[in-house]
């Protein structure tokens, strides 16, 4: 008698019944088939990595260093001033690490960023080995030291662009996160409750939709005494939600009378729970599409505002601010070509992902395929 269990044999004979795929994995499967959309997604992830590791890519502060017997991470100071250990301030480093480390502690060692350039200040002569200082004025053509050239103050453009990635990505995500939250809540209330709530919400949507976006944003930004990049994200979020709300409202109206909602109501599930636990997961996919396009729009608006001089305050390196300084002197073409290309590629990538998502979640296309 054979001791081996017969189960594997049976399993082989039964035609492989694919486990029922969830909705999202099916969307992902369809999304993955679109090569351009995947490429764009990879590019966005790449941008995210650049933003995350910006201080290690370009900077003048060591990523890791050993100084007087202790290990420090001064590069974190680029994210937040306080994260740079005050010991360097006390020992009068004056933000110039390479020579000071050697002078004040010959035993010290450090791992440096890939490119020794600072997004906030000009690198002076002799600061890094025997390298000459950054050229200023209109002499800063791109060369092997300053890959993308320098601006008229001698600050490296490549370093500014690497550090500006953080702002561009944050603006997109945070502002559309705010806009998405407002839009979904307003749309859910209007669509699910209907009646006078719907009338009030629809009026609100129309009012915000009617004022040209830039008009509203400029007016609100002008109110804030010292606008920071976070204010700008909040303002963008508060003005870009109507499209999302309209779509969410339509989805909620459609699903309001679905069987599973009626069933949930029959067993006494609360209204808020029905809205956000039962309907929202089913309405999320179509709502994600305008959010993705909105991220592209937010990046455009942020760089446009920075370009007009309404953006983040000067020490913040942003792609739009670079364009603005390029506009002041059109001879410095590298101040326009490189940041312009960065904005273009980021916007293009988000648009492609948005389109991929749109086609992956479109029910009409789904039925045509299967």
């Amino acid at each position: 008698m054979s001791t081996s269990p017969p189960a594997p044999h049976i399993a082989e004979t039964i035609p492989d019944a694919a486990p029922a795929r969830g909705y999202w994995s099916e969307v992902w499967l369809r999304f993955r088939r679109r090569r351009l959309a995947m490429l764009a997604l990879v590019y966005i992830i790449f941008l995210g990595l650049v933003a995350l590791f910006a201080p290690a890519i370009a900077g003048t502060k060591p990523v890791v260093c050993k100084y007087k017997g202790e290990i420090y991470f001064p590069a974190l100071g680029y994210f937040k001033r306080e994260w740079e250990n005050p010991v360097f301030y006390r020992d009068r480093f004056r933000r110039e690490y390479p020579n000071n480390l050697q002078e004040k502690d010959p035993e010290s060692w450090a791992i440096w960023p890939l490119v020794y350039q600072d997004p906030y200040r000009r690198v002076r002569e002799g600061e890094w080995q025997d390298r000459p200082g950054n050229p200023s004025g209109n002499q800063g053509n791109p060369n092997e030291i300053n890959l993308f050239g320098t601006d008229s103050y001698g600050v490296d453009v490549f370093a500014q662009m690497v550090h500006g990635t953080t702002i561009a990505l944050l603006v997109g995500f945070v502002s559309m996160g705010i806009a998405g939250t407002i839009g979904i809540i307003v749309g859910a209330l209007a669509g699910y409750l209907g009646g006078w709530v719907d009338i009030v919400c629809s009026r609100a949507i129309e009012v915000v939709l009617c004022v040209p976006a830039l008009v509203l944003i400029l007016a609100i930004i002008a109110i804030i005494e010292k606008p920071t990049i976070w204010h700008m994200m909040a303002v963008l979020g508060c003005t870009r939600w109507p499209d999302i709300a309209r779509l969410a409202r339509a989805e909620f109206i459609r699903l309001r009378s679905a069987d599973f909602v009626t069933a949930a109501r029959a067993i006494g599930v609360g209204r808020v729970r029905i809205m956000f636990r039962y309907i929202l997961p089913n309405a999320l996919a179509p709502v994600l599409v305008p959010i993705t396009f909105g991220i592209a729009g937010a990046i455009l608006i942020e760089s446009g505002l920075s370009f007009l001089g309404f953006g983040a305050p000067p020490p913040n390196p942003s792609w739009g601010t670079l364009l603005n300084s390029g506009r002041a002197n059109l001879q410095l073409w590298w101040l326009i070509v490189f940041p312009g290309a960065a904005i273009f590629l980021a916007v293009l990538a988000y648009n492609l992902v948005g389109e991929g998502l749109q086609e992956a979640t479109d029910p009409r296309l789904r039925s045509a395929e299967s």
Partner: protein, 324 residues
């Protein structure tokens, strides 16, 4: 239909009231006032009584809701007030700036439709072929290309590196001395770059729009019927298919109405084009309340009108739609 329009107009008036109210409150809470600029000028000594008098004229001594009430009452009498900056009636200022903006936006709208319809049709005929893919990808990239970056690049290439086109503005310095023919040529040369920047993005958008609509229509049964009858391919595309994609195209004209006038604030700023967008930018920085309000009013009236027009046109071109 008539009752529908009346109802929409009434709702629109209510919306307008909310918009102007909110914007008035917003601009009144911006730091600084129209007087700040004049007070900062050290060469002019303004005594406190004059300031009081000016504040009274500008309505700054009253809380914003009272000042808004006065603005609204004047508006009902068709008076948009006087610009604080330029000391001219707001309606006159807008009238001055409307021409240059329309010159750009109408030209670019015309060009965009003129070029995008054949391009969209071509793309739908050649769907899936290599040339169509290349064209569509290029158009898509163009659509994502920020207009202000394009404007700066054009300026660098055509005005700074080669002196082919004028860099800024709408007129040459000696415009007044020109003959009529030279004046036309002058404005034409100045408008080439702005019009290009205005046009390319909408061109890409419209042709993609036409193509995606066509792709939906050509799958319909009546197209197959037409082909089966032996109607020529050109006639099928233009006569049977394209006519039916006109519906969304027509409604889009309604929705583009507000952008015709609002212009692009950023583009007009880059090219120093004396249009409405620039006027808005100037009046925001100078805290010129009446002008801001006048412009916001014009923009929002047009947006509402455009939406209404789109809905009405929808019913006109598509007999299946009715609002009664």
């Amino acid at each position: 239909m008539l009752s529908y329009i009346v109802r929409r107009v009434l709702i629109g008036l209510m919306t307008l009231f909310f918009i102007t109210c909110i914007v008035y409150a917003l601009i009144r809470s911006m730091p600084g006032s129209p007087l700040t600029l004049e007070l900062m000028d050290p060469s002019r000594k303004i005594d406190p009584e004059d300031i009081k008098r000016m504040e009274a004229i500008f309505g700054l001594d009253k809380p914003w809701y009272q000042a808004y009430g006065i603005w609204l009452a004047n508006l009902v009498q068709l008076d948009m007030g006087r610009s604080l900056l330029q000391k001219q009636p707001v309606s006159w200022l807008i009238g001055q700036r409307i021409g240059p903006t329309l010159l750009l936006s109408l030209t670019s709208l015309f060009l965009a439709y003129l070029l995008s319809i054949p391009m969209g049709l071509y793309a739908s005929v050649r769907a899936g072929k290599t040339d169509e893919r290349v064209m569509s990808t290029l158009l898509y990239m163009l659509y994502s290309f920020p207009a202000f970056v394009a404007a700066l690049l054009l300026q660098i290439v055509f005005a700074v590196q080669h002196d082919w086109l004028p860099l800024l503005g709408m007129y040459d310095e000696q415009h007044e001395t020109f003959t009529f023919g030279e004046k036309v040529r002058d404005v034409f040369l100045h408008s080439i770059m702005p019009v290009t920047c205005y046009t390319y993005a909408s061109l890409a958008y419209y042709s993609r729009f036409i193509r995606s609509n066509m792709m939906e229509v050509v799958q319909q049964d009546y197209i197959r019927t037409a082909r089966a009858k032996g109607v020529s391919e050109v006639k099928v595309i233009v006569h049977h298919a394209f006519r039916n994609t006109l519906i969304p195209l027509v409604t889009m004209i309604g929705l583009t109405l507000p952008t015709l006038l609002s212009g692009s604030i950023i583009l007009e700023q880059i090219f120093s084009w004396p249009g409405m967008g620039r006027l808005f930018f100037e009046s925001i920085t100078a805290r010129d309340y009446p002008t801001i309000m006048g412009l916001v009013l014009v923009f929002s009236v047009l947006t509402l009108l455009g939406q209404l027009l789109a809905d009405i046109l929808y019913a006109v071109v598509d007999p299946r739609v009715s609002y009664s």
